[in-house]
Amino acid sequence: MKIAVCVKQVPDSWAEKKMVAGLLDRATVDAVLNDLDEYAIEEALRIAEAHGGNEEGGANTVTLISMGPERASEAIRKGLSMGANDAILVSDSVLAGADAIVTAEVLANVMWKGEFDIVICGTESTDARMSVVPAMMSEKLGCAQLTFASRVEVDPAAKKVSITRVTEAGVDEIYGEFPCVVSVVEKINEPRYPSFKGIMAAKKKTIDVRDFASTGAEFTKSWSVVVDAAPRPPRAAGVVITDDGSAGQKLVDFLLEKKLI
């Protein structure tokens, strides 16, 4: 099987973030591999391992695919050290500030050319928090959408994939065939830590850096634009009391004062 995993480099969730000219200022914050994408990498590796492996001469390959600045190769390296075989990074100044539609358009074109059987994503990028790129990719590719999976089962011979989808709407059992786009929730597995051997091996793995034109994607222009962005006034400092036996009653008084009861 040819498995692709979409991974994004994002600003560290703990970092102070600010907007410059309507865009997230990515230059001044530490960047990391989107932690939800680690679950996608782990799941891809487990699927490969369950069906003949992805080592040299194995039956499968796991390719990381990312769109972002050149610097994103740092995050990609982490995925390679977990055990992915190789990576493709689409990096081009025309893509700066790309929205979800452009991202999905570019990634889908890369998938298309790579003839992948399964594309695995995280459920959201911790910076954009849209949870739409996997659905958009599957729309663009015209293939099965198997998203928000807490369980993924693959039958390579039958080219069939079945998942358990967990969302606020409940729990669904869904199946589809190759090629398909899967996204996985963080309950699905426990991502492995890169081993020393893995880290050393990753240094020798290839990251194929491509420009926008080579993807064959149709457009670069974002269809949604930020008009303005401003920091919100910080929450007014609240009252913190230490319980001396009367805190329960004081809490009720607070709720009354705020007309919440």
Binding site: S138, Q145, V239, K258
Partner: protein, 317 residues
């Protein structure tokens, strides 16, 4: 007058409060048409459950493909109706299903999409709160009609009686959209309390409950609140995953959020930071969630919550 199309949202075959919120946002801009996607034979009942909200027209499409093919089939229908009606904009509820449907429609029709809006202005400029609520962003769609997903509980719903004209229509579902097939569907367990994302008050418990949610539930019930949980609590199996609040759980924006025995990890904050009022009960004065508290109690939840519960009940009696 311009038209606004909304995708009506249902839970257990009943129209949700979020639908009324979408209609309210839409009515500020133009006449609201609500699209109802229902299984064969259920269209009339679904439409009849739309009893409130400024809705002029209800369009009903009946097809068993919606239950069988989920998101992709719903997106086909919404895209088709959007092309027919040519509305000024389309509003959808910002939950996993709504966002995915909107994403596919945007890709299909080549129109811009904005997710998680907390406000929509008359020219379809959407207000979003990003970076854990620390920054307000205004966004606009630069191409085509806007498709915007609106976060539940952020727009004050106008509960006027709805007396819409009801019409039936159809939409083609493409073969590509039938490539994923649902074999079974289990609705979430409701358990008699309000739905988390719709609730006016949410009381949540974390690892500090040590698995005993009775005090949290009792306080929630005294307030008519929904019960939420941190990931530590859902991972331990103390509370169902569908009640998890946070980055990988639900995003809630209630009038009051009460966090009991929750430390305030960034992933938890991501789901509750935009609550209007925040109360924190935690043994540890250093717990980071106190930074967000309008009212904080450093204390044991098992000794603080019971008298508070009695106090609230006494007020009501």
């Amino acid at each position: 007058m311009s038209n606004v199309l909304i995708l009506a949202d249902f839970v257990a075959e009943k129209c949700t409060k979020s639908t009324v919120e979408l209609a309210t946002a839409g009515a500020g801009i133009g006449e609201v048409t609500a699209l109802v996607l229902a299984p064969v034979g259920k269209g009339a009942a679904f439409a009849a459950s739309i009893t409130q909200g400024p809705i002029t027209k209800v369009l009903v499409i009946e097809s068993d493909d919606f239950a069988r093919h989920g998101v992709a089939a719903a997106a086909d229908a919404l895209a088709h109706v959007t092309q027919e009606l040519q509305p000024a904009g389309v509003l959808v509820v910002s939950h996993a299903f709504g966002k995915e449907v909107a994403g596919r429609v945007a890709m299909k029709l080549k129109i811009g999409i904005i997710t998680d809006a907390v406000e929509v202005s008359t020219d379809f400029t959407a207000t979003q709160l990003v970076f854990g609520g620390s920054t307000t962003v205004h966004s606009k769609v630069a191409q085509g009609c806007a498709i915007i997903t609106v976060r539940p509980n952020t727009i004050t719903a106008n509960f006027v009686a709805a007396t819409p004209v009801i019409e039936n229509t159809t939409a083609p579902i493409s073969d590509c959209s039938k490539k994923a097939t649902l074999t079974s569907s289990e609705p979430p367990v409701q358990g008699g309390r309000p739905e988390l994302t719709e609730a006016n008050i949410v009381v949540s418990g974390g690892r500090g409950t040590n698995g005993d949610f009775a005090a949290v539930e009792a306080f929630a019930d005294s307030l008519g609140a929904a019960v939420g949980a941190s990931r530590a609590a859902t991972d331990a199996g103390w509370y169902p995953h569908s009640h998890q609040v946070g980055q990988t759980g639900k995003t809630v924006s209630p009038a009051l959020y009460v966090a009991c025995g929750i430390s305030g990890a960034i992933q938890h904050r991501a789901g509750m930071q935009t609550s209007k009022m925040i109360v924190v009960v935690n043994k540890d004065p250093e717990a980071p969630l106190f930074e967000l508290a309008d009212f904080g109690v450093v204390g044991d939840l098992f000794t603080v919550l019971p008298p508070a519960t009695e106090g609230v009940q006494a007020r009501k009696a």
